[in-house]
C-alpha cells in the first residue's frame, strides 16, 4: 500500500535521450551541471586552442630557440593568472605546438587571454614543463586578444603580432618579434541526432486480466560488458502492438553508430517491478539497416543460467522511422559567416532629470565614473562588438527635442540627418555625450518608432539574404506611455531576425514593462488580432551590481545564442548556406 504515494505518472514518462532537434539544448548535461556548480553559467561550449608561431627571435647562439607558450586569463580585477603551458618545441623559429588548451567559451562575458612565448634554456630541457620557472627562461614576446575575436573569425584562426612587454627598456633592435597564430576548435561540434520511431508487434501479455503496458529501455553496452541505460520511452497502456513516440538519440551520447545497444521491452507495473517481455541487441547502424529493409527483428528472452540458448519469441521489433539530423552550434554559424549586429536606443525623456545635475540618470561624472546608461551600453556593447564585422552600430535617442524641431521618438544619436551609424563602442559613448547637450529632454516614453526603425534595418538585411541577426538594446528610465503601440510594433517585428533587450535604469516601478517579456506573461497581441510569432523581447531592471557574480545584463546576454539558434533552426537555415 506504500505504493500509493509513489509517482506512477512520473514513472511512466519518457526519460533520457536528447531533446528533439528543434530545441536549442545541445550541451552535455553532466558537464553542464559540473560547471554550473562551480559558478560558470550561461551557454557554454568547450573550445580547444592550438598554437603555432612564425619568425620567432633567435636567442640561442649555436641553435635556434626552443619555444614554449604560456597562456594567461584576465580575472575580474584585471590581473592575469597563468592557466596553461604548451610543450617545448626544440630548435625551431616556426613552431607548431601540439598540446592544446581547453577553455570554456561563455558568450556573455569578454574573456581576455594573454599569450607569452618563452625560449626554454637548454639546461631545462629534461624538466617537466610545469616545473619550469619562467624568470629563468628567455622572454620572446607576448600577444593578447579576446576569445570571441578568435571564434568569430571565419576560419577560427587569429594571427597576432608578438610584442615586447611595456615596462622593458625600449630596444634598438627592430621590433620584429614574429607572429603567433591561435586556432580554436569546438570540442563537441555539430552533433548528429538520430530520430527513431520504434514499434513492436505481437507482444506477450504479462498482466493477468489485461494486456501488457509496454515501454522500452535503450542501453548502451560498454567495453566491460556492463550496459548503461541511455533513455526510456513512455508507457503505452494495454497495447500489445505499441508504437511509441519518437526517440531522439545523440550519437555522441552513445559513442558511435556501431556501439551495441540493448533495447529491452518491459511491462510496466505500478509497484515498480517491471517484467521483461523481450529484448533485442542492435547498434544504431543495425537499426538503420532494419529500417531501410523494412524488416522486423524477433525479440528474445535470456533464459536461466546454465542454458546457453536464448528463447526466441514470436514478438517482433520494427524501426518505423529513422532519420539523422545535424544540429549546428552557435559557433558553427559564426564560422559560416553569420554576424550579430548591435543597435542601441537611449531614453532622453525629462524624467531622467537635468543632465547637468548630479542626481540625474544622465549625469556625466567628470571623475570618469560611468552613469547607468553608459554602464549598460558598455556591458552589452563590449560583448557584442566582436560579433559585428564592420563595428558600425546604429544609435538612436528618443523622447527629446533636437535643437530645431519637434519632439522626436527616433533621432540619430550622432546628430546626422542621413545616417544613424557610429564607429565602435567609443563612437556610441561620444555620440551619447554630445547628444546630451544638444537636445532638450522631453517626453513621452515611446518605443514604437525605434522598434520600427530597427525592424526596417533587419528587414532590408533579410531581403539582401545577409547572414545577420540584429540585437537592439533599449535603455530607459521609465514606463512606456503607449503600451499598445509598442506591442503592435513588436508583433510586426516578431518574425524578423531581431532580439530586443530592454534595460530599465533608475528607481521606477517596471512592473508594467514585464508584460512585454513573454517569459513572464502571455504572447503579445497587436490591435489587429495578430499575435507575436516568437518572443523577441527580454526585459531586465538594471541594478548597480558591484559585488555579485553575474550581472543581470550578463544573464540577458546569455540568452542570445539560444534565441539566435531557435530562429535559425526553425527556419532550417544552415551555417553553410
Amino acid at each position: 500500500m506504500g505504493n500509493c504515494c509513489s509517482d506512477v505518472g512520473g514513472g511512466m514518462m519518457a526519460i533520457g535521450g536528447t531533446a528533439p532537434s528543434t530545441s536549442a539544448a545541445n550541451q552535455n548535461d553532466a558537464a553542464d551541471w559540473y560547471f554550473k556548480s562551480r559558478g560558470i553559467q550561461g551557454l557554454f561550449s568547450q573550445i580547444e586552442l592550438s598554437f603555432s608561431a612564425t619568425n620567432l627571435r633567435d636567442r640561442d647562439v649555436f641553435s635556434k630557440s626552443d619555444p614554449m607558450v604560456v597562456v594567461y586569463i584576465q580575472e575580474r580585477d584585471g590581473a592575469f593568472t597563468e592557466v596553461f603551458r604548451t610543450e617545448v618545441v626544440l630548435n625551431s623559429l616556426n613552431p607548431k605546438w601540439i598540446t592544446k588548451y581547453t577553455v570554456t567559451y561563455q558568450f556573455e562575458i569578454v574573456q581576455i587571454l594573454l599569450f607569452r612565448v618563452f625560449d626554454v634554456d637548454t639546461q631545462f630541457h629534461n624538466v617537466a614543463v610545469k616545473m619550469l620557472k619562467l624568470e629563468e627562461q628567455q622572454y620572446l614576446g607576448e600577444a593578447s586578444c579576446a576569445l570571441s575575436e578568435i571564434v568569430s573569425k571565419a576560419n577560427r584562426s587569429l594571427t597576432l603580432d608578438l610584442v615586447q612587454r611595456e615596462e622593458s627598456v625600449p630596444s634598438t633592435y627592430s621590433q620584429h618579434r614574429g607572429k603567433l597564430t591561435v586556432h580554436a576548435e569546438e570540442c563537441f561540434s555539430s552533433k548528429t541526432t538520430t530520430e527513431m520511431t520504434l514499434k513492436c508487434l505481437n507482444l506477450e501479455s504479462k498482466d493477468l486480466f489485461s494486456k501488457s503496458d509496454p515501454f522500452l529501455v535503450i542501453s548502451k553496452v560498454v567495453e566491460s560488458g556492463i550496459s548503461i541505460p541511455v533513455c526510456k520511452t513512455e508507457v503505452l497502456k494495454n497495447d500489445l502492438n505499441p508504437t511509441w513516440k519518437p526517440v531522439f538519440l545523440n550519437i555522441e551520447q552513445i559513442g558511435s553508430k556501431d556501439i551495441p545497444l540493448v533495447i529491452e521491452c518491459f511491462d510496466f507495473n505500478s509497484n515498480g517491478k517491471h517484467e521483461l517481455i523481450g529484448k533485442v541487441q542492435k547498434s544504431l547502424a543495425d537499426l538503420e539497416k532494419l529500417h531501410s529493409a523494412r524488416e522486423g527483428e524477433n525479440l528474445f528472452l535470456p533464459t536461466l543460467v546454465g542454458h546457453n540458448q536464448n528463447k526466441v519469441l514470436k514478438s517482433k521489433f520494427f524501426v518505423e522511422n529513422y532519420s539523422e539530423t545535424v544540429q549546428y552550434t552557435f559557433l558553427d554559424y559564426l564560422s559560416g559567416g553569420f554576424e550579430l549586429n548591435f543597435m542601441v536606443a537611449v531614453d532622453f525623456t525629462a524624467s531622467n532629470g537635468n543632465p547637468r545635475l548630479p542626481d540625474s540618470l544622465h549625469y556625466i561624472d567628470p571623475s570618469g565614473r560611468l552613469n547607468a546608461y553608459q554602464k549598460a551600453i558598455h556591458e552589452v556593447g563590449e560583448v557584442l562588438q566582436f560579433y559585428d564585422a564592420d563595428k558600425r552600430f546604429p544609435a538612436w535617442g528618443f523622447g527629446a527635442r533636437p535643437i530645431d524641431g519637434p519632439v522626436s521618438h527616433c533621432f540619430n544619436l550622432n546628430g546626422s540627418s542621413n545616417f544613424c551609424e557610429v564607429e565602435g563602442i567609443r563612437g556610441i559613448m561620444m555620440a551619447y555625450t554630445s547628444a546630451l547637450f544638444n537636445v532638450s529632454l522631453a517626453g513621452p516614453t515611446l518605443f514604437g518608432h525605434v522598434i520600427n526603425r530597427a525592424a526596417m534595418i533587419a528587414s532590408q538585411s533579410l531581403a539582401n539574404d545577409a547572414k545577420k541577426y540584429f540585437v537592439l538594446l533599449i535603455i530607459t528610465d521609465g514606463v512606456i506611455t503607449d503600451l499598445q503601440e509598442t506591442k503592435d510594433a513588436l508583433v510586426k517585428a516578431s518574425d524578423l531576425p531581431l532580439s530586443i533587450l530592454i534595460v530599465g535604469v533608475g528607481g521606477a516601478d517596471f512592473k508594467e514593462m514585464e508584460i512585454l517579456d513573454a517569459d513572464k506573461g502571455e504572447r503579445l497581441e497587436s490591435s489587429t488580432g495578430r499575435v507575436a510569432s516568437r518572443d523577441i523581447v527580454q526585459f531586465v531592471p538594471f541594478r548597480d551590481v558591484q559585488n555579485e557574480g553575474t550581472s543581470v545584463v550578463q544573464s540577458l546576454l546569455a540568452e542570445l545564442p539560444t534565441q539566435f539558434l531557435t530562429y535559425m533552426r526553425s527556419r532550417d537555415i544552415k551555417p553553410n548556406s
Binding site: 528587414s459 489587429t528 488580432g529 499575435v531 516568437r534
Partner: protein, 180 residues
C-alpha cells in the same frame, strides 16, 4: 499586364487553447482556409491533439491579386463521420501582413493570429507559416511594399493601407466579457 493571381503556400502549423463554450475541445479539430467563397481548402483532422492540435499541413492555393484577407476557420468534428462540424473560431489574415511587410514575400514567414468565436470572444491562437511562390514581376521590394498601387516608397516603414479588422459586438454580453 499584371498576373491575375499568385500561388500561396500556407502551412497550418498548430493551434492553442481551443474551447467550445468553456470546455476545451477534445479532438478532431481541423482548419478551413478560404481566400474567397469559392476558393477554400481544408487540413487533415487531428484526432489526438485535443485543444492544442497540430497539423503541419501544407496547402497550396491560388490567390487573386485583389485579395484583401485570407480567412482561417478552426472547426471540429463531433462524431467519427465528417458530418456534424462545429465552428471553434475564426481569424482573418490581412494580406498586407505578409505582402509589403517586413519580410520579403518569397521568404518563409511565421505568423500567428487570435481566434475569435461566433460571438466575438477570444478563443485560442492559430500558428501558420506561409510564403508566396513567385516574386512580384518587377522585383524590387520597395515596389512590392507599395502594394502595386503606385503610392511610392513609404518613408516611415510599411504602413497599412486602411485594412481594419473589426470585431462584432454581441449585445447579450457585458462589455468586459471581451477582455478575457
Amino acid at each position: 499586364m499584371e498576373t491575375k493571381s499568385r500561388t500561396l503556400e500556407i502551412t497550418i502549423l498548430s493551434a492553442e487553447d481551443l474551447r467550445t463554450g468553456n470546455t476545451p475541445v477534445k479532438k478532431n479539430a481541423f482548419v478551413v482556409v478560404s481566400i474567397d467563397a469559392f476558393n477554400s481548402k481544408e487540413t487533415k483532422i487531428d484526432g489526438e491533439g485535443g485543444s492544442y492540435p497540430s497539423w503541419n499541413d501544407k496547402l497550396v492555393m491560388e490567390m487573386p491579386v485583389q485579395t484583401r484577407f485570407i480567412t482561417l476557420q478552426v472547426k471540429y468534428c463531433k462524431g467519427s463521420s465528417s458530418g456534424g462540424e462545429k465552428l471553434v473560431g475564426v481569424a482573418r489574415i490581412p494580406v498586407t501582413d505578409f505582402i509589403g511587410g517586413y519580410s520579403p514575400e518569397t521568404c518563409l514567414q511565421y505568423l500567428s493570429y487570435r481566434l475569435r468565436d461566433a460571438k466575438g470572444l477570444k478563443n485560442g491562437i492559430i500558428n501558420v507559416s506561409l510564403r508566396l511562390k513567385e516574386p512580384l514581376r518587377d522585383c524590387s521590394s520597395q515596389a512590392a511594399s507599395a502594394g502595386g498601387i503606385g503610392l511610392g516608397i513609404p518613408i516611415d516603414g510599411p504602413t497599412d493601407f486602411g485594412v481594419v479588422t473589426g470585431i462584432p459586438i454581441c449585445s447579450a454580453y457585458p462589455p468586459n466579457a471581451f477582455f478575457r
